[in-house]
Amino acid sequence: MPSPPLQPSKPDDERAYDLALVRRAKKGDRAAFEEIYERHRHKVFKVAYGMCRNQEDALDVVQDTFVKAHRSLPSFEGRAALSTWLCQIATHQAIDLARRRRVRRAEPIEERRLAGKDVAEGPRGRAQASELREALDRALDELSEKHRTVFVLYSQKGMSYKDIAKTLGISIGTVMSRLFYARKNLQRMLAEFAQ
């Protein structure tokens, strides 16, 4: 089978490109799966980190997610976007890990500030934006697990209310109630950080 074309630019192209990679990976093409990993690892990490709240566990979840995805590729039919499917797997892996660990506590804020140092480096504007993101990241710690999980999945943008509801086994109404409750609390906490 010919390789997929050059990197896509539009969402539809993205999806078609992913599907072509999946088809190749299903046939045992390791390079194709490697590319799937490269393309989606950051998204998966974001979900994993949002749920685990520490980098080490989040990276473990990323690894477990892609191992499981590799095993489950034959069942992937492309109804959902590949990134949505991967994020769903990551969510379940993170929930499983949290159940198993109960609990490796979240890293202290200072430790995470250092871990995020690379992001904050660069021009001043970027640093300010980065500060806001860090403040938001810290505020996420204060949310309950169920509210944070919905917020993190919603932040993935590609995930619809229906996708989130299906992933977590809850209703769309509950997704919305958790999401907007999370928003209200995050806004309150960020206002406190700003003062």
């Binding site: 980190y49 949002g50 690894q63 871990a115 980065s130 209703s171 109404g173 919305m176």
Partner: protein, 167 residues
């Protein structure tokens, strides 16, 4: 559910999850109410800036460690799967050996408990372990099968080794 209740949800004033009945009513109302759809869109707009958060970026070394771990685990699973496929035959052989063992044991026990042959020969199980140097260190049970004959059997798995004339 009505517009007032949905607006509470969009304002983040609803801390508890919705019940099954509430969820159904929520979706039904939202699908038909343009005012609530607008309220939802406003709530999403207010949420948008917050969704821009980023986790601390892992180092390249961290990513490389994940990548290596990923392929190690995939390779390990694939090897295990291949071994599982090849393992079907030995499993079959093990089952056959077990069957042979059962038959052998039944034969030994039946010959041990059988009344002495009419010719007057006796059949006894000595119960003593004998060592046959030609077979290495295999411990053998000596079975008296009749006058002039004895049978050596291995206790586990029970396989008939030899029938030899009594010296």
């Amino acid at each position: 559910m009505d517009c007032t209740e949905l607006s509470k949800v969009f304002a983040g004033e609803r801390a508890e999850d919705l019940s099954a009945e509430e969820s159904a009513a929520f979706e039904e109302h939202l699908a038909a109410c343009s005012r609530c759809l607008e309220a939802l869109a406003s709530a999403e707009d207010a949420l948008a800036p917050l969704t821009d958060w980023e986790p601390p970026a892992p180092s390249e070394a961290d990513w490389e460690r994940v990548r290596c771990g990923l392929w190690e685990e995939i390779d390990l699973r694939e090897r295990a799967t291949r071994r599982g496929g090849r393992g079907a035959l030995p499993l079959f052989l093990a089952a056959a050996a077990l069957l042979l063992f059962s038959v052998g044991l039944a034969l030994v026990l039946s010959s041990a408990s059988r009344p002495a042959p009419r010719s007057g020969a006796t059949a006894t199980v000595s119960g003593q372990a004998a060592s046959d140097p030609s077979l290495g260190a295999v411990e053998l049970l000596e079975v008296e099968a009749g006058p002039g004959y004895r049978q050596h059997v291995e206790p586990w798995p029970v396989v008939c080794i030899a029938i030899s004339e009594r010296p």
